[in-house]
Subunit: 406 residues, 2 copies
Amino acid sequence: MIKYQFIQGGITAPSGFKANGIHCGIRKNKLKKDLALIVAENRCTSAAVYTQNLVKGAPLAVTKKNLSDGYAQAVICNSGNANTCNADGVEIAEKMCALVEKQTGISASDVIVASTGVIGQPLDVTPISNGMESLVKGLGDNSHDCAQAIMTTDTVKKEVAISFMLGGKECKIAGIAKGSGMIHPNMATMLVFMTTDVNISSAMLQKVVSADVKDTFNMISVDGDTSTNDMLTIMASGKAGNKEIVSEGADYKLFKKMFNVVSGELCKKIAGDGEGATKLLECTVIGAQSKKIARTVAKSVITSSLFKSAMFGSDANWGRVLCAIGYSGANLDVDKIDVSFSSSKGNIPVCVGGRGIEFSEEKAKEILLENKIVIDINLNSGRNKATAWGCDLTYEYVKINGDYRT
Amino acid sequence: MIKYQFIQGGITAPSGFKANGIHCGIRKNKLKKDLALIVAENRCTSAAVYTQNLVKGAPLAVTKKNLSDGYAQAVICNSGNANTCNADGVEIAEKMCALVEKQTGISASDVIVASTGVIGQPLDVTPISNGMESLVKGLGDNSHDCAQAIMTTDTVKKEVAISFMLGGKECKIAGIAKGSGMIHPNMATMLVFMTTDVNISSAMLQKVVSADVKDTFNMISVDGDTSTNDMLTIMASGKAGNKEIVSEGADYKLFKKMFNVVSGELCKKIAGDGEGATKLLECTVIGAQSKKIARTVAKSVITSSLFKSAMFGSDANWGRVLCAIGYSGANLDVDKIDVSFSSSKGNIPVCVGGRGIEFSEEKAKEILLENKIVIDINLNSGRNKATAWGCDLTYEYVKINGDYRT
């Protein structure tokens, strides 16, 4: 068992980082922050993954270019407008980086830039320009404000930080995330910004991130819609003072595991705060012939609108679990599938060998009325497993998305 | 222009068919019919397509076996229970065929059997057995009752019949369908039963059906969930007296076009009556580099929960159309995409060359408040096109599916 502990401080918990978030005026509502900044004391090794949607936000193109050398020193992100499908998108994103350089001295080419909000409405850079001075002036241990400024329809801010020992040094990894709707990541995720003070090369950092997202952020789904602006970035300051990780040894493995603790927590926060959600759904698939089958099955179940609606109604409609497994595209033996539901109120098997079994509807209802439901699926065909996270489908989801733009 | 006319009579409009539908007691609500029967005077050439879900209803296995010789003479179908994921499923489905033989003299191996309703609850054959005598006694021009008996959460019955001239003879094609939720067919569809009096070989009939569903039933989606019990069957009595169609000549082409008229109408009826739907969405893609790209794009748009919610709110959120095109998996040039919305109130372009253009929100709202909305997409990259049908996502969908089993 590797030891680590959750700590306070959010994105600025690792040594060498400051953050802030303000309302600059992109949003009409003055109570909603809309501009976030994270800066590092020194240039950091960095890594990132991006959406696989062919329609990509302009900020992604600029960030990709700026990260091509494996280094970054700041993140600037606005909410309220995605700066996507606009004729001047790249120009605006580059201006945002230039504004960071002007105000902080950090080179524009070391800036990660991101935007989230409505697609296809021109982003006016004026409020950002006007807000830069106070944004930079307020930099400090302000992870809360920073995490709030990247929120859109999120109802809670999402911050995680842990500390652990590596190479004899105390190390930290932290992350903030936003994501509530348009969540069905493909090789990347919502906006997730992470920091660490671990000393690690850009190449090793990228390797950890690329491998981890397959089991974490790519395994959450709120509504089956893959966003145009998904992005996860991490900056490593090296301030922990450990010997630089440059290959896949013990330190690499430890860092990878610790990274997974933070990413896994952020996933659950995102899925549980899905638009309109009242419940976090966790689908665990074991006994799969391959890792790919396990992932496909888990994700298909938590993506099914029918199953999500049943969970909203606390209805043990396991037939919809079988149905979603059946159309997932995974090649498997239906007659071997076992399914059970569980929550803090207990566990109830509902299907054995692909067939329904008798169970107490009363007990099932008691279990499903909780706000965190686990769907356990055993394919009984191998030794691979995967977990996916989602949420129920509710009236509120429809309400939020029926008139998002106004 | 090929001439045809819509006619009354539903599934019994073609010569040689009788139908009926009754309440036999599978459902508790005595006002809801739950057992349907269609019989032909003679053995008919027949064809079918089935769901691609790996979890398949037991009735599909029995129907497949019975249709393996290309002939059938009756359809029996119950609603209220899908007879799927039950240990005795095949046995029960075979009993249903045997009951038809006992009461009508039609060989059990010439019976198409289908079930629709809850998955994973044993289907008691007793009420079916008890109801058979009155079901058969009432056979006649009762397409209405038959179409009602196969309904589940459908709010309207779905019947279509047309007549046209072929080989100098008056010919008819008719169909009834059910389908409201769990609709995202893959190579087949909901329950669709069709009849025709055209004289056509089983092989040619199958060819027409298999080709047609790719552009019709496989292009509708209510909720992205592919059912376990999807099935489309057709019986051709040959009573129109035309020269048998045994190859792909002019008569084959005409029949194929006429079949498409009926299947297209049934698709719109199914999508427009999607669970909780207030609007029929029709997405037409033109200018695609391939037929496959056109289909993929059209289906991705009408499947997007975010876009469906926006349509419920009559919100011209075209960014979600672009987003759904971008993650569809189709390889295309985003910068060439034009999008416009239209309805009986007019047409409004909202996106040109992948970028938003200025438009009147007022005019857009007026157009989107109608109950049939067309989304026109031009990929400007080729000459292929496709149409997909869906519906908006509403509070009512969630309500219906939050507690379906009770």
